[in-house]
């Protein structure tokens, strides 16, 4: 594996060049004005904890689909991803290729069962589903703790990413960028909860899709079509357009495994299943979400490949670092209005991801952890808002410290969710032979393995062989432990499922 091309590259932590032009600032101001307007509207409609955490289970199909696309990509699709392609070629596509199957896989494996569990039990969080499935407060609490650890990392890196983007648009400095971005996100998260988040995501996702399609068309036009772009690259760097790019086959396939199977454990996407107003609308959800994702990811592919060709044929200057691929294209050759749209789209991507994680984190603190200890918070809405503020402020402070520690925190977010939640949740909701002991052992294995391997790698006490990542190893181990312990404790499996949960699993 090429050094520096691990999961750490999936995060937006680079310094972007200044894009502070009048048009970019004007579009940026307009963007923030729309976000604030939507937030005020949503705050007036948030009256209960259910409104705050799952939008009162009353979100329509189109809104939920666009929102789900929006939180699925983050700023990586606009900056880190194209830069990654520029650095390693088509091997970087194995991160996004799983989108062809993940949405419909999630629909078959999780969407129906989680939405029906929400219907039967009024569940509002992912650990809720684990608690109901295994009739275990311990499993619910452990899942909540694992998610909280992952969220700490994601939030810090998202706060830093917001600071980087806002500084690039407005030229206010990284510190102010972090606080402005987190302040606006916090304002709508705390006032309007997930309702504000969803409708801001709809706006933000639409913006991202429009920006992505326009950039895709621009790159094809500027480069004389994909064939001409390929010819330019093949003449000087044919490995770039090989099926693995400059990665080893093991590394590229590892990405596919982690980002396909791992998608079943990402709470920001899975949590959305509770929110759909009518469970029968799930029929069109995977198709619409997949099409939406394809539109948003057009920029990822076209900029990565296009900029490579434009640098090779001298139409763009050589890049200082791969992450400059998108900014270099936008600030050197695209119309300034398109650049402004994309920069706002990047801000939108980071803010929608941050909002989603703040909301999930607040639900864990005010709902799942008290439930795990056999208690209930009397006013979940009020405490949810307070937890939202605390999480956002803690993330902003952590991000301000910047440096490698923040990068380290962000590296294992995806892998941690995947290794702790996929076996217990995705397999557990579809296999009545799974036991609570198996679930607890699997969650613990995922949590401890991910933390131990990532820490050892961070401290350079251990180096993985080429193509192997901590996320992949932890997820595989978690699966194996889940199956083994469930088999060893199989006598308790059938008796530990409530009748309504059993029906949901059998349908």
């Amino acid at each position: 594996m090429i050094p520096g091309c691990g999961l750490s590259n999936l995060l937006l932590q680079v310094a972007l060049p200044s894009a502070a032009r009048p048009a970019v600032i004007a579009v940026g101001v307009l963007y923030f004005a729309v976000v604030i307007g939507i937030s005020v509207w949503a705050a007036r409609r948030t009256h209960t904890a259910s409104d705050f955490f799952v939008g009162g289970k009353g979100i329509g199909l189109i809104a939920l689909t666009v929102a789900s696309v929006s939180v699925s990509v983050s700023g990586f699709a606009f900056i880190g991803g194209p830069g990654f392609i520029y650095a390693v070629g088509l091997g970087a596509m194995y991160i996004v290729l799983p989108a062809a199957v993940t949405n419909v896989m999630g629909a078959w494996v999780l969407a129906k069962r989680m939405r029906l569990l929400g219907e039967a039990r009024n569940l509002i969080t992912v650990p809720d589903a684990i608690g109901a499935r295994y009739r275990s407060r311990g499993a619910q609490g452990l899942a909540a703790i694992a998610m909280l650890v992952g969220i700490v990392g994601y939030m810090a890196t998202n706060a830093l990413a917001m600071g980087v983007v806002i500084n690039s648009i407005f030229g206010v400095g990284l510190g102010w960028g972090i606080w402005i971005g987190m302040g606006v996100t916090l304002a709508y998260s705390a006032s309007g909860g997930i309702l504000a988040g969803i409708y801001n995501d709809v706006f933000q996702g639409t913006l991202m899709a429009i920006a992505s399609v326009l950039v895709f068309l621009f790159v094809l036009g500027f480069g004389g079509g994909l064939g001409e772009i390929s010819r330019t690259i093949l003449a000087q760097d044919p490995t770039f357009l090989g099926p693995w790019g400059k990665l080893t086959p093991l590394a590229a396939l590892s990405f596919f495994f982690v980002f396909s199977m791992g998608s079943l454990g990402q709470p920001q996407a899975v949590h959305k299943y509770y929110m759909l107003r009518d469970p029968l609308q799930l029929k069109w959800y995977p198709l619409l979400k997949t099409l939406g994702l394809v539109l948003v990811l057009l920029l990822y592919f076209s900029v990565g490949v296009g900029v490579k060709a434009f640098v090779l044929n001298g139409r763009l200057p050589a890049l200082g670092s791969p992450d400059q691929a998108t900014p270099s294209l936008l600030l050197n050759v695209t119309p300034i209005v398109l650049a402004a749209l994309v920069f706002s789209g990047i801000a939108a991507a980071t803010m929608s991801a941050a909002n989603s994680f703040i909301n999930i984190g607040a639900a864990i603190v005010t709902h799942d952890l008290p439930v795990a200890f056999g208690r209930r918070v009397t006013d979940e809405l009020r405490w949810g808002r307070l937890a939202t503020i605390l999480i956002a402020v803690a993330a902003a402070i952590t991000a301000q410290r910047s440096g490698t520690m923040v990068a380290f925190l962000g590296i294992f977010g995806w892998g941690l969710f995947a290794s702790t939640l996929v076996p217990a949740l995705a397999v557990g909701l579809n296999w009545q032979g799974a036991t609570r002991e198996g679930a607890i052992a699997s969650i613990l294995t995922g949590l401890l393995t991910t933390l131990a391997l990532e820490t050892a790698a961070y401290l350079k006490a251990f180096r993985f062989p080429a193509g192997v990542t901590a996320s992949a190893v932890a997820m595989v181990l978690s699966f194996l432990v889940f199956f083994l312990v469930s088999w060893l404790t199989r006598r308790t499996a059938q008796s530990a499922i409530d009748s309504d949960v059993r029906l949901v699993m059998e349908l």
Binding site: V101, L253, A426
Partner: protein, 169 residues
């Protein structure tokens, strides 16, 4: 349980059992590939092949596990599932097996050299055309209908009543 009920349970159990076995086999193949990477002398050439086969098997298996229901098992979904597992496995294996011949004179397929086209258009786009459409077309029969939702709501109401009855006053 009625005779037809027993038949239904058997079919579903067989489908789910087979899917579970396939999932475990897929995960074992993936685990073996990773374990092999730790061998002295580096990753053996057969390790990526295990991933190329293990990943499609594991993904196909977990989809079948989720989709199996009632008397139908996975019913007509066996065709799209088989198609997608085959597309992924053939795509990965073709990328591994076809020698690297990319160069300035390579024939392009929709703008990409052959091996890249297999990956981008085969693995990345073909499943999009098949799977979500299959999901939507079989939704009421295979996944969820109004009667299912009502049954779940009814049991949920019973659970709530029972839970409230068990709580100390």
């Amino acid at each position: 349980m009625t005779e037809s009920g027993e038949t239904t349970t058997t079919i579903v159990d067989n489908t789910r059992h087979a899917a579970l076995v396939a999932l475990i086999a897929g995960i074992f193949a993936i685990a073996t590939a990773y374990a092999a990477a730790f061998l002295p002398g580096g990753t053996p050439p057969w390790a990526p092949w295990l991933l190329a086969l293990g990943i499609p098997i594991a993904l196909g298996a977990i989809m079948i596990l989720g989709a199996a229901r009632g008397r139908m098992g996975i019913g007509p979904l066996k065709y799209p599932f088989a198609f997608v597992v085959a597309v992924l496995a053939i795509g990965f294996c073709a990328a591994l097996a076809i020698p690297a011949t990319e160069g300035p004179l390579s024939k392009l397929w929709l703008g990409l050299p052959a091996r890249a086209a297999i990956v981008i258009y085969g693995i990345g786009l073909l499943p999009i055309i098949v799977l979500p459409v299959a999901y939507a077309l079989t939704f009421e029969a295979q996944t969820l209908n109004a009667e299912d939702v009502e049954r779940v709501r009814e049991l949920g109401r019973e659970y709530k009543t029972r839970s409230e009855g068990e709580q100390p006053s």
